[in-house]
Symmetry: C2
Subunit: 497 residues, 2 copies
Amino acid sequence: MKITKDLYQSSLVLLTDFYQLTMAYAYWKSGKGEQEAVFNLFFRKHPFEGGFTIAAGLDYVIDFCRNFKFESADLEYLAEMKSQDGSPLFEPAFLAYLSQLQFSCDIDAVEEGTVVFPNAPLIRVKGPLIQCQLLETPLLNILNFQTLIATKAARINLAAQGDPVLEFGLRRAQGIDGALAASRAAYIGGCASTSNVMAGKLFGIPVSGTHAHSWIMSFDTELEAFKAYAEAFPDQCVFLVDTYDTLHGVKNAIKVGEMLRSKGKEMIGIRIDSGDLAYFSSQARQMLDEAGFPDAKIVASNDLDEQIISSLKTQDAAINVWGVGTKLVTAFDQPALGAVYKLSAVKNENGDWEPKVKVSQQSLKINIPGLHNVKRYYSQDKAVADMIYLEDQEIDPRGVVIIDPIDPTRRKRLMPAFYKEEILLKPIFKQGEKVYDRPSLTQIRDRASKQLEALDKTHKRLVNPHLYPVGLEENLHHLRMNLVLNAKKFEGEHEES
Amino acid sequence: MKITKDLYQSSLVLLTDFYQLTMAYAYWKSGKGEQEAVFNLFFRKHPFEGGFTIAAGLDYVIDFCRNFKFESADLEYLAEMKSQDGSPLFEPAFLAYLSQLQFSCDIDAVEEGTVVFPNAPLIRVKGPLIQCQLLETPLLNILNFQTLIATKAARINLAAQGDPVLEFGLRRAQGIDGALAASRAAYIGGCASTSNVMAGKLFGIPVSGTHAHSWIMSFDTELEAFKAYAEAFPDQCVFLVDTYDTLHGVKNAIKVGEMLRSKGKEMIGIRIDSGDLAYFSSQARQMLDEAGFPDAKIVASNDLDEQIISSLKTQDAAINVWGVGTKLVTAFDQPALGAVYKLSAVKNENGDWEPKVKVSQQSLKINIPGLHNVKRYYSQDKAVADMIYLEDQEIDPRGVVIIDPIDPTRRKRLMPAFYKEEILLKPIFKQGEKVYDRPSLTQIRDRASKQLEALDKTHKRLVNPHLYPVGLEENLHHLRMNLVLNAKKFEGEHEES
C-alpha cells in the first residue's frame, strides 16, 4: 500500500504546523538545523477509560517519509509569505536549503497491531532537528487517529464476542480520509468488513452492504421491493425490515425467503436499523425459526458501540451480526487520542547525547529522556510487563526493577531470564533508507488479534480494567529524576544570564 | 478551489457505501435506474445543544459532482467482485452502463455560510435514482463534517467575543482531510487563521504559528532560546513562556522584548499553554504592563473550547488571542452531525411526482415529502422565521401559517408581505451542468458572519438557546400527515399481495 501516493496528488510535506517551519528557519539561522535530536511520540492515557491501545498508522507514516520532499509549488507558497514589514518571511537561501532537503532520519516504531501502553514510545525519530520538527505534526495526525480507531474497533469486537462487526461509518466520518483511514484502522482492530467501496479498493478490505430504506420506498410496497432485490441478488439477500413496520417486514422477508428457496436459493437474513433491538431481534428470531429459517442471520445497526452491544448481549438479543458506524469511525465518546511528540535528547558539540526533559507543573506531563526503547516480557505467551529502558543500558537477566513513570512508589521486580522478550521499537528507516518490510493489512490484523490474546482478560475489561504494568528501568528512572531536579535548579541559576 | 481534484489522484466515485452500488445494480436490473427521484439532505437536531448551525462543504460537493465518473480502475475493481457461487457479482452490461454514466442531476443547495435549522434541506438532489443513490454517502460525508466544524468554530468565536481565534488542530484531527476540511470550515465559522500550512496553501487561509516547547528545550536555557528566535523573526515574536516556569518565562520574554526594542522592533506577545490560564494570564499582564509592554498580546491555548473560553472571560482572564485545536477540529463534545439523506418523491410512469415519506415509530424521524424549498423571512435585517414549502405552492402574501414539523400544536402566522424574503435552496447544477458561481472562501466567511448577525442573540446563546421558528407551510403539513396515515394503512392492505 502506498496510500498517500496513490490517493494524494501533491506532496504532503506542507501538512504540518506553521510553527514547525518557523522553528526550522530559526534552527537554520542559528546554525542548529543539522544538530541531531531524538523525539518520541507517545500518549499519556488509554482512550475510552480502557486498559489497552492498539497501534496503527505506521504504513501511512512510511509513505509520508518516503515522499518527504519540498516541491516547487510548496516553495513558491513559502516564498510569498511576508514579514510584518513586507519583506519575505523566509530568506531565499533557506528555501534553497529546503529544496535540497533529503529525508535522512532513523525511525524506530512499534509495529501496527501491537498492543501499547501510556508513556512508552509508539515511534522514535532520530535525525537533524529540522527534519524531526517538520515530521512532528503529520506523524501525530496519522498515528493519533488510526491508533484511536483501531482501539475503538477492538473494544467493539470484544463486546461482540466473536460475532462479525461490519463498519459502515463513511457518511458520518470526519472528512474523506477520516473515513478511509478509519476503515483501515477498524479492520486492523477486528472488523470483518467496511461499507466504504474506496477503502475496499485501496486497502483490499472486504466490502459489504445490501440496501437502504430508500430502496423500499422507491417501490409501491415493501414486498415488491424485497422481490426486486431478490431478483438482482438471489445469493445476497439481507432484507432491511423496518421501513414501515418491523415485524410486518419480517413477514415479507420470510415470504421472499420462501420464494428464493423454491428456486434453490437461501436468503442470508434480515437487518433491523431502529426501535428496540433486543425486543425486535427476539421476535424476528422466533418468526424466522418457526418459518423454517433457523440459519437466517439477524443484522442489527443504529448508533451501536461497545457499551450498547454489551448491554444487548446481556439481554440475550438474538443478533448475529453488528453494523457499527458513527460511534466507531469518529470514536464518538473520545474523538482524539492526544498523543504528543517530545524531544528526549540532543547531540551536543562533542558528539555526546544529552538527555532532555520538559519540566511541567504536572508530573504526569514530564517526558522520558534519552534514547530509550521498550521490552515486553512474556510468560507462556501471556504479556506480563513492559520495561522502558535506555538502549545502551545492560539489563541483568537475574533481576531488574521497573518503576511506574507517574507513581514512583509502584515498583515491580522482574527476572528477565524467566521470560521471553520482545523489543517493541523496530527499525523502520536507517538514515532515511527504509529497512522494514511492510506487512500486509491482513498480517497487521492478525498481529492485533494475537496481541490481544496475549493480554490477560482483566486488562481487556471495557469498564475499570486492571492496569497492565509498565515501568522505567531503574537507571532510566534515576536519570529522569535527576534531570527534573537539575532543570528546575538550572533555570534559577541562569536567571540573570 | 477544486480541492478534490487538486488533492486527490483518483476519481472519488467509489467513495460511497457498497449498498449504493448494489441498489444501483438492482435498480438497473428492475428497469428503475433512470426513474427520476428527489432526495433531501437534512439534520434533525442542532449540534452541541445549540440554537443554530452553519452550512459548509458545498464547494467540495461541487468538485465531487464535476468529477463524478467511473474510471477503468474503478470498474475493474467492481468486475472482480464475486457472488456466493463464484460468479461475478455485477453483470458486464451494468459495468458498461456505469462506464457511460454522466452526472445529470439537478442540485439545489443552501449556500455555504448560511445559518440553517433542523429538518429543512441543506441540499436537494433531483435526478435518476441510480445517481441520487450513489451521491448519498459522499454528500453526507462532506456536508456532515464541514457543517459540524463551521458551527463549532462559530460557537467558539462567539465565546471569544471578537478576540482572534487561531485554529491549530492538525495534530489531533481525524485523518489528513479531517484536518484540511476542518481548517477550511473553521475559517468559515470565523477563525482568524490555521496552523496547517497545507490548508493555507490549498485554501488561501492565513497561517500562524511561532515555536514549541521543543525549541526551548533544544537550547541550554530559555533565555538563549528566546534570543535565537528573536534573531530569526524580530517582527514575529510570540514567546512560549511555560516550558519550565511560566512567570519566569514571562521575565525572560520581557528581557528579549527590551532587546528587540533597542533595535527598533517590538515583540508581539507571549503564549501560555498550560496551568491556570486565568491566574497566569493576569499575572503576566501585570508584569508586561509594568515592564512597559502594555500592547504585548497574551495568547492562550490548552484544550480550549467555547465553554472554557466563556468561563475564562467571566473570570476576567487577561487573554487577547485564543489558540484552539482538538476540541474544535474534532468537535470533541459531539463529533458527528448525523444529517441524513431521504427520498422525498419519485416520478411515476405517467410523469407525475409522487411524494414519499418513511414512516417511523418515532415521529421525529418522519421526513418531509415532495419537492420542497425553504424561505427565510427577514424583518429589518433580522431573521424572523423559516418556512418549508412545496415549490409549486402559491404563497398568499397576506398570511400563511407555518407548523412545527415535530410538534404540530406549535404554529405561527406570518404576513409575508411585511417581510423581506430569501429562498435558501439555490440552483447549483441543472441537468448536470454547473449554474452556480462559486464564492471565494472569504465571501463564504463573510456570509457566515452576516447570517449570524441577522440571528437574534437569544438563538446564539451557547446554553439553552431560544428556538428559532421553522415550520411547514400548511399545505405541506397536510400532505405529510395524509401520507403518513396512508402509508400505515397501505402496508396493511397489501399484506397478502
